[in-house]
């Protein structure tokens, strides 16, 4: 039983590491900010998610597993918000979310 758990952990973490690698290659090689942000979201969502999934069987208790999921949720939240903020800055928009204006107000 523990052999199966270890195999699940190794496979999931390896897959997660692959997505981290893909995200990093995207960060280094993509031409501009918006595409790089897009690459980074793969590392945050899929990469970290697979690593957490792989660590869940090793957590040993329900509390440990819930803490791991909380870590993933917080990283997702922070990544999503910061990506939004950076993307707004990068594309030069000052969007007013009520009236839907785009572009700088002159």
């Amino acid at each position: 039983m523990s052999v199966a758990i270890n195999i699940i952990t190794i496979v999931a973490i390896t897959a997660g590491a692959f997505f981290f690698l893909a995200g990093t290659v995207g960060l280094l090689r993509f031409p501009d900010t918006l595409t790089r942000l897009h690459a980074l979201t793969k590392a945050d969502n899929l990469g970290l998610g697979l690593v957490v999934l792989g660590l869940l069987p090793q957590a040993g208790s329900l509390r440990g597993g819930l803490k791991l999921l909380c870590v993933w949720a917080l990283a997702l939240l922070a990544g999503a918000m910061v990506s939004q903020l950076i993307a707004r800055e990068a594309s030069g928009q000052r969007g007013d979310s009520v009236t839907g204006h785009d572009g700088p107000v002159s």
Binding site: L77, M81, Q84, L85, R94, G95, S97
Partner: protein, 315 residues
């Protein structure tokens, strides 16, 4: 050469690579980003060195708050970049500095390699006296009981640094509001994050402080998380920084070192020595001091990042 050792050498190599990039980067902003990355990877090294409390402190203060502080300064000083870039020192200074740095690094490395074997350690002493406080985390024991004097003086140092920062205000702004007034679109992303994250962050911060009794954590780590949540709210413009002359703020700031000092003097009067805890009351006393410490650390670190007063009082 085990797999773990190979991975640790890879980690050390990556950390040194990021450190080199921090020194060599052209733009200050890029160097500061490199420094934040360095701080976070350093936290991984601390975990490998079996110092999880230190890893938490390094990630929170070194990477997190230090990063915010330096990024803000780099953004405000961006206009000085072009002027400063022309003032690079000559080749002799650079070669001399490189030789000096290499010598210092070599001396430290020799010291590390020649460390005595078997290593002298105070761990048995710490373990033997752990029953005096009833706490399970040895680092908390050392911080709050065995070397409590250091921790108390460190709180005073934090307070002095804050007084130093405040004293940099021009005369007409004395006692005013620290830093510029931040504005963010109240329906935008930053304001949303500043409403969503702080409740979670406060719970996490209090948890990290509370769990420091028996597991890695403690007042510094928890207080830093609370300070970060406060800074997030200030930076989104949802709440303004308090006036520096506010009495309630100043009471919160001196609560930590004040209670620590009071307990210490009580130990002198009632017990056997300064900062001696009576064994029956050791744990509640330590927890009481830590609660005050956490609040003070949160307020002090947040205000240190917010900076000197830049808006006059009662605006």
């Amino acid at each position: 050469m085990t797999v773990a050792l190979a991975l640790e050498m890879a980690l050390a190599a990556v950390v040194l690579g990021v450190a080199t990039w921090t020194i060599a980067a052209r733009e200050t902003f890029a160097a500061v980003v490199g420094f934040v990355t360095y701080g976070l990877m350093l936290a991984l090294i601390w975990v490998r060195l079996d110092a999880v409390d230190v890893a938490l402190v390094e990630a929170a203060i070194g990477g997190g708050l230090g990063g915010v502080l330096l990024l803000g300064a780099a953004a405000r000083l961006r206009v000085t970049e072009t002027l400063a870039a022309t003032a690079r020192p000559g080749a002799t200074v650079r070669v001399g500095a490189a030789l000096l740095s290499a010598t210092v690094a070599a001396a430290l490395a020799t010291g590390v390699i020649l460390l005595p074997d078997p290593a002298p350690t105070l761990a048995p002493a710490a373990a033997a006296n752990a029953t005096a406080t009833g706490l399970g985390n040895p680092v908390t024991n050392v911080l709050m009981a065995f070397r409590a004097m250091d921790t108390m003086l460190e709180k005073v140092v934090l307070l002095l640094a804050l007084v130093g920062v405040w004293s940099l205000a021009p005369d007409r702004l004395w006692g005013g509001y620290p830093g510029p007034r931040h504005h963010a679109d109240p329906l935008g992303t930053l304001a949303f994050l500043a409403r969503l994250l702080p409740p979670v962050g406060i719970v996490v911060g209090i948890y990290v402080f509370w769990t420091g009794k028996d597991h890695p954590g403690g007042a510094f780590q928890g207080g830093t998380i609370l300070a970060a949540m406060w800074l997030l709210v200030m930076m989104a413009g949802i709440a303004d920084a308090p006036q520096v002359s506010s009495r309630r703020l100043r009471i919160v700031l001196i609560a930590g070192p004040g209670i620590f000092l009071a307990v210490g003097l009580a130990g002198l009067a009632i017990g056997s020595a300064f900062l001696a805890y009576p064994v029956a009351y050791a744990k509640p006393l330590i927890l009481g001091i830590e609660i005050a410490m956490t609040l003070t650390i949160a307020a002090t670190l947040g205000l240190l990042v917010a900076g000197a007063p830049e808006r006059s009082a009662r605006q």
